[in-house]
Symmetry: C2
Subunit: 130 residues, 2 copies
DNA sequence: CTGGGGCTTCCAGTGGGGGGAAGGTCAAGA
DNA sequence: TCTTGACCTTCCCCCCACTGGAAGCCCCAG
């Protein structure tokens, strides 16, 4: 299967697939004409990667997850530890965003949003040394 | 004031300050020796930028916010609209992260995390065509 | 044999800086 | 006066995870 079919079946852009090969996440075969030849196992890995990326795992995490997946003697504790670390990072990002949202919502609600220049949002941003 | 003092007073790395000058957010003067000479107004803008960035505004949003801040005939509605758009983006990111977190938490809880290889996390990532 | 769609590689850019080299400048101390 | 060390400058590459586009090869239908 050529890259377009692989892209459709894995629901990943062809560019991304080439990139994943470049960084060694997949190693598709090559036809005589130099075209990539994707096996089912390649498509399988690609969908795996797509799902892991959709859960927010970094590429390097994905690399580890893929190797754990292929290692039939893995310990599920290793996978769970990776997931825990990632959950912690997700929660950190959510907390940061919620903090931004709360502050910004307060300022937003305090701004009357009319034609006049007075604006608590700008006033807060301009706080001198606070 | 040299860049180090500006960095301390604005609580921004010197590298960041140079970058902000490079992209035209600030325009500090120069001493005869080529050193940047920061006025109070420059420091003021830098702290403004630091706060706006801390609220998650992009650099381009910051540029607009700064110009609105300096435009004494601005309408607060313009600021409010920008804040609204940004709040929408923040909420979108939070929703995406919460979705990841929920999915991953379910998988995490279902994984017993022992020495055995069976792992619902990997099994989910490996779902074929689901 | 021509056209168009597929495929290849390579280069550049994204956002928001960070790291570090190479070299100029300045002030304090010996 | 000389040296040392802290500071400053520009310059270029690196990060992540792609994305866009150019230049050029391959293959099949008409």
């Amino acid at each position: 299967m050529n890259i377009k079919g692989a892209a459709e079946r894995s629901d990943l852009p062809a560019k991304t697939i080439r990139y994943y090969e470049e960084i060694g996440l997949i190693r598709p075969l090559r036809d005589g004409n130099g075209y990539r030849a994707f096996r089912d196992s390649d498509i399988h890995k690609l969908t795996f990667l797509g799902r892991a990326r959709a859960l927010g795992f970094t590429i390097e995490d994905c690399r580890v997850l893929l190797s754990l997946y292929e290692d039939k003697s893995r310990a599920s504790a290793d996978v769970k530890a990776l997931a825990k670390r990632h959950l912690g990072q997700i929660n950190g990002k959510i907390a940061a965003l919620e903090s931004m949202r709360d502050t910004l919502t307060d300022l937003y609600d305090a701004c009357n949003g009319d034609h006049r220049p007075d604006c608590p949002i700008l006033a807060n941003l301009a706080l001198w040394g606070g």
